[in-house]
Each structure stands twice: as C-alpha cells, then as structure tokens.
Symmetry: none
Subunit: 403 residues, 2 copies
Amino acid sequence: MNLDLVRELAVSTDSRIILLVLDGLGGLPMDPFGRTELEAANTPNLDSLAARSDLGLSRPVAAGVSPGSGPGHLALFGYDPLEYEVGRGVLSALGIGFELSENDLAARINFATKDEAGRISDRRAGRIANEEASKLVDLLKENVKLDDAEVFVTHEKEHRAVAVFRAEGLSDALSDSDPQRTGLKPLPVEPTTGAGGAAKKSADLANTFIKEADEILADHHPANTVLLRGFGMHPALPSFDEIYKLRAAAIAGYPMYKGLARLAGMEVLKEGEGIAGEFETLKENWDAFDFFFVHVKPTDAAGEDGDFKRKAAVIEEADALIPEILDLGPAALAVTGDHATPAKMESHSWHGVPFLLFSEYTLPTSERFGERTCAGGSLGVFPAKEIMGLLMGHTLKLNRYGA
Amino acid sequence: MNLDLVRELAVSTDSRIILLVLDGLGGLPMDPFGRTELEAANTPNLDSLAARSDLGLSRPVAAGVSPGSGPGHLALFGYDPLEYEVGRGVLSALGIGFELSENDLAARINFATKDEAGRISDRRAGRIANEEASKLVDLLKENVKLDDAEVFVTHEKEHRAVAVFRAEGLSDALSDSDPQRTGLKPLPVEPTTGAGGAAKKSADLANTFIKEADEILADHHPANTVLLRGFGMHPALPSFDEIYKLRAAAIAGYPMYKGLARLAGMEVLKEGEGIAGEFETLKENWDAFDFFFVHVKPTDAAGEDGDFKRKAAVIEEADALIPEILDLGPAALAVTGDHATPAKMESHSWHGVPFLLFSEYTLPTSERFGERTCAGGSLGVFPAKEIMGLLMGHTLKLNRYGA
C-alpha cells in the first residue's frame, strides 16, 4: 500500500471494520486431486458470506517467499514488509509480552557451551531444560550491571532468552556474536554500518553484557556462555491512527500478535478464552473503536503439526461464530490469513492466501470460500499490503483521488 | 524479482529444476471464437501435468509491450528487463556465437549506399546477397586497423554484420551513425552522457572504423559505406550461482539463446538434434547441475511464419517427450515461453504467456494446459520476472523471510 496516498485520502467515519485473521489459513490439497483444508471444511456461514463478497488470493511478501509472522502481519496492516522490517530480537521480545519502548534494543540470547579453548562446542547448551535456564536468567538479571544502560533479561524457552538494552541513542546496526557453527570462537558484536556513534555504543554494551555473562556463567556448564543475535529496535511504523484515521483495537491470544498490533499503534484488548472468547471481547468493545484486528492462532498451529483435519475443524469452529460477527453490523469484514501453513508442508509457505471481503459494495463470483474460488475471484491474485486500502475503500473512508 | 531478497534467502539443496521454454508459446485464436495454437494442439501429457500443477499467464515486460528475445529471456531468468538491458549489438554478437568478454563493445553494422554528396540513398545497400556481403566483411577484417583496439567484424545476414571493439575502458553510451532516413548524411557517433573519457574514446574508435571502412568500400557500390547502431556492452548480470546458488546449465540450439544463458552465468551444454536431441542432452547431464534451461525454437519460427498448424505440431512434438523429462524426477518443472508469437500476428506480441509449474506443492485448477485455463489459474496474471522466485520456493530453496 502507498501509505502517503492513503494518509492523504483517509477520512474518519462512523462505520466499523473487522479484519479476522485465521493464522496460516492458506492450504494445499494433500494429494494433487484433493481439496485444501478450507475447501474440505464444512463452512456454511463463510460460504454464504462468500456469495456476497469480493474474493481473491493474497500474496504476503513475494513470489516463492514464505513469510514469518512479522512480515505476514505487517503486510495485512498495510506496511510493505520489504520496507519495514521487524528484527528477530524485537519479535522475541514481543513474543514474551515485553513492552518495547522506542529506545530499546532487543536481541535473542542463546545459552551455549564453550570449551576450554574458548570455542563454541554446542550452540544450544544441550537444549537445557526450562527450569534450569530460568534459574540462569535470574542469575544474569541479578548480577549483570552495565554503566550506561538498563538491561532486561527474560527467559523464552529452553536455551532461548531475550535481552533488551534501554538507553538513549542505541542502534540495531550490529552483527551477531553467534558464529553459526561449532568449533569456532564467538564473534565480537560489531557495528555493520561504519563506525557510527550509536552502533559503536550499542556494540560496546552488547560485548560488555557477554563478558559479564561469561563470568557469571563460568561454572554452569553446559550453559557457560551466551550468544547474542538478531539485534533489532522498535520499527518506527506510522500508526493506524495517523495513516488511516482509525481507532484500532487488537484481539489476540498470543503475545507476539499483541506486540505486532501494538507496533502499529493499536490498543490491545483483554481477550476471552478461545475463538468464542475473542468474539465476546469484540462485542463488548464494539462501540469504542472503528477497526478490529482479531487474531485466531490454532489454524496455524494445526498446519504446523501437519494435522489437516484439526486445521479444518478450527476453520469450522470460526465459521460457526460468523453470524455473531455479522450481527454487529460491520461495514466491512475481511476474513483471511497472514500466510499459508499447509498441513502437507507442516510449515509456513509462499502460497496464495484465501481472502474474502464482505461489504455493501462487492462483486461476488462464487458461493464457496476456498483457495480455488478465490483464485478466480474479482480481486485475482494480489499483494496482501493492499488489503487495508480495500477495507478503507469499501467503508467509504477514502476520498476520491483527483478531480 | 527482488534479486537482493532472493540472494539473502537462497540456499543450495540437492533438488533439480527444469525451465522448459517453448519460444513464442503464447498464441491467439485466428478468429474470436476459435482456439489458440496451444489449445488446439493435442497435448495429453501437458494436460495431465496441468492437472497436478499451478497455472498462470506470465507477462514478460509491461502491459501492451512486445518483448524481443533478450528482454523475454532476462525476465524468465529473474532479471527485471527494464533494469537490465542487452544492447542490440550485444544480441547480434551473441546471435552469431561471438563470445563477448566484459570489455567488449558491440555494434550492428549495416552495409549502406552513399551518393556523391555523401547522403545515404539506401540504408540496406539493396539488401545485398549473403555471398557478396561476406566478401566485403573479409575486406574489412583484413584492412581496418585501429591504433588502440582490436576489432572483430563478422557477417550476420544480407546487409547486416557485427563489429566488436576490444580495448580497456570502453563505453556503450554512444549515439548511432545511422540517420534512420535516406537523403541525410550519416551522423558522427557521439557520447550520449557528457564528455566522459570512456565514451569519448569509444566514439573515436567507432568514427575511425567508419572512416576506414568508407575508404575500403569506396569502389563497392551499392555497399560503399557502413552505418553503426545499437552499441552495447556485456551487461553485468549477477550470475545464477551468485543469486540463486544454482549450478545452471543451458540447452539451446541457437547461438542467441546460448549467449543469453552465458550472460546469466549458465554453462552451455552441447545439444543434440531437435527437441529429442535436446532432451537427450538433458538426461546425459542430469547429475552435474541443479538447474536446466531448455530452449525450443521452432514454436516461435512457426508463429513468425503465421503457420498456426505447424506451431501446434511443434507443441505436440514437445508434449510427446514430456514423460521422458518427468522420469528424471525434477523437483520442479516449468513449461512456458519467453513471449507470445501468435500465428495470427506473425510476430512477437505482448499477450500473456501460458505458464505451468509442476512440483509437489501445487494448487491445480484445470486438467488442460491452455491460455484460458492459465488465466484462471492459481497464479493469475503475473510478471515473468517472478518465475525464478516461484521455482526456488517450490523446490524449498528459499529460507523463510522474517521471524
């Protein structure tokens, strides 16, 4: 989406938009002549909605490129995922519910094993157990002291943790300390863009952190060192309010998606239990916002597990609740995913994502919601970053361009 | 395709890709209610493949723009044909099998007729016969001597030949000497970008070449002068190995396509006779490479001749050999063209080119391979420069983008 264009044309109105994201919705037939998860699911409500909707297949990033959750959601929110990047450290911080502020520098920590010669012998410290890692994180929290910055260390899972450095004038233009292979010494963290002051200061902080951690962990073999990688800062995304003039709210069960929504300036609402709980929250807050991002996770989880039937069942569960959403009277409702997670592949993929847009102003092409009806829909195959423009247009929130 | 993105994500794997290009494959019905060449052809193997493939219509350059063979192939190889240009001189040099090195400056030569006042009276010297032109080329070869450069002159066809200047520090930022109309004097070759040293030196070389050729040809009316145009140098294309981490091989019967493949860093294999011979070469080299560009020319030639039936027959010939290709077990096989050459138009055209991608991870939409089934396919209408991204994705040779 051309954000400057939208910013110029956007007007605030009373009508409401719902963007319902079934994570990893896109699928594939398990064998060439079969149906996809969405096609196989029994979805009378989505089908009846499709018969009144525009359909298309959205592409999150680029041909053949499988997106992570970060780029997938940035595209849905209208940000070009190749222009706006969210570092791994930032996503990890968001994933554990850490509320990053604009000056924070985040990095992933791996507990690792160093041999007597100082070479990395295991990049994951034997995938140490959660309980043990959690104790080591507490040790670091108590004992690492940096002169010029605050540092927050939080355990993620097994050998993984997150470090957030807080100070004025930091930069994420930094190389990793992780040498990527065993048998090599860890690398010093270095500025990747010249010898700029901010990157130099940040590299010094990171290297001091590693040095102190090494001393603290010395007797804790196999987790006797840490590797830092994926340095990232809060990306300066223009907010939903500023671009779209929308009071936007997010309803999501997992920290990472709440964090991504917060990056875009959305207010994160307290969700209820499961899909039905999320929809309850939507109803309760209907009057207070004019844009709702509702995130449903279990479609993706089932796809990642290779569980075709469970993914179809989650879709059916969402389908059953569609009438409740329609009862609210949204001016536009989009149902889509942030990427495909075909059960056949047990992973995110590059395939087109089914997209349905219901409003008063649609050109319906099919009475079924599925990958193949979407491919032949009135929107064709199109970039996901255009979705917000479509939603704004269908709710009459964009002025005419030119006379 | 965003080459920086692909370069960042590409990983080398064992699986193999075949890009089968039926030159000028795209067609049109001869009358509005008829079938295209591909639709009319009896193609049981391609149809059965379509039933297990992603389909789409690829657009080589831009809406309404008919591509030459250069841009058509650059797009297939993933290079944006509007960003990477291959000069006519370079294509001519490639077309005659001249192995351009990186310092070479190539230009097209037209033998032409100059009157006593020095004005061009025939820009093609009466389209002199091959034999005669060939003798004049020999005269130029023997007698033109440049102080600061080697020059290679090679006959192409009738009044057309190619000059290649070899020296350090040349530039192709040069205007043509061809005045484009009769009754005008030839133009001096001039630098088109300021008075830069390289362009000035190159213009001087070209003008000296023309002056010497004029003296040598003075008594050879009607071919008593030469016009130079289409100056071009070896375009600095990033190689397949560098971008895609692919060991790429090309199998093509015509010098121009071999040359285009060489520009992309492919190894050109010695092909056998006809389509069957090319496929033999493919089989013989299957273990040594992981990407194969196979070029079939006669589809285009038949289209250029306006011979609908012959074009369909060539497609049928290729179809019959498809099972042999599948027996090799490629992880991905794409069948497409570099542009359309509808028999109805007897020329290259801007129309969409049927595209089929077979892999384990497809969303089939039709049991027929044809322009109209492709238009409704899961890939929709898409830029040809995205094809390499799709092939890389379908063979799991691209890492995930973002976390």
